[in-house]
Symmetry: C2
DNA sequence: CGCATTTACTTCATGCTTAAAATATTTGCA
DNA sequence: TGCAAATATTTTAAGCATGAAGTAAATGCG
């Protein structure tokens, strides 16, 4: 029979790897449910929701480049998603006065209304999935994640 | 001027939504770095790494259906990734005696060696990115994530 | 046995994702 | 002014992801 290493201290790197694996699993599990719910209830996808969420915070819209920066995805990626959302009438590209290369994207009235319904449902789904965390526990973990983000940013330079 | 709501208690659902947004941000940030590193150092991708990681735990290989179950991705998805890894000589499909529909996939010697180098680098990257968490803090968060997973599983039925 | 159902897997259509190349326009400066 | 460099965006090629449809083989039961 094997020795029981379970209660011996693991090297720090193993402990952190274990954390990452759990982290990823939880994240993927929640994301999968969100995708499925968005698909079933609103015939849309997470990337489309993300674009609309970003635009909903800027009444006068965002330039394509700013939009891809906010979402932290590539320019080319945003082009396709915006194309499709435009076809659905949820947003429009407007010319930017004085710069014929650029365009400003903003939600239409219909897009804003649609997004508000999606956002309310989204918040309820998250509240349900994370109900195991009390508001205090949620705040505590949020704080730790903010530390993590800060340390990840710092290492970039 | 607007009232300052910042220090009033937020509804639980807002607190949890905030947690989810931080969670997603951290997860995407770490994943992006992993993808970039895998690409630069090993000319591979996270899905390929995931497939090899899964197979590395089963010396005699896995059937395609079991592989997609373990990875929690669709069957059709696994087909393509396995196709490409096979072309690279990192794994092989073997016939399953007594069932001509099925095939068993396992790492080749070259695939196992390659994976072991990738896994060592992967662990070091994670250790670096999560270094802001002490082993104790890491264990603590891992425990909370396990609670979360358990509660997510339970709600499925 | 015969044939409907189930199982294992691949293919297909569509969309998301990236990096890199291409296009168009603006800016800066010799 | 003229033109090289920078900027804003789209296009392209390749891979990942899904759900659904298709193919082939195995199973089960009347």
């Amino acid at each position: 029979m094997e020795l029981d290493y379970k209660h011996l201290p693991e090297p720090a790197s193993k402990e952190r790897l274990r954390l990452w694996l759990r982290f990823l699993k939880a994240s993927r599990s929640i994301e999968a449910t969100l995708r499925e719910n968005l698909r079933q209830e609103f015939r849309t996808t997470l990337p489309r929701f993300d674009v609309m969420a970003a635009l909903s915070r800027f009444e006068s819209g965002l330039k394509m480049s700013k939009l891809s920066e906010v979402l932290r995805v590539s320019n080319g990626n945003v082009t396709g998603i915006v194309d499709r959302l435009s076809e659905d009438g949820f947003l429009i590209r407007e010319p930017v006065p004085g710069d014929r290369r650029a365009s400003r994207v903003r939600l239409t009235k219909s897009g804003l209304e649609e997004f508000e319904r999606q956002a309310a449902a989204h918040e309820a789904w998250i509240n349900d999935m994370l109900s195991v965390f009390s508001p205090d526990a949620a705040r505590d973990i949020t704080n730790r994640l903010e530390q993590l983000e800060a340390s990840l940013q710092k290492d970039k330079f």
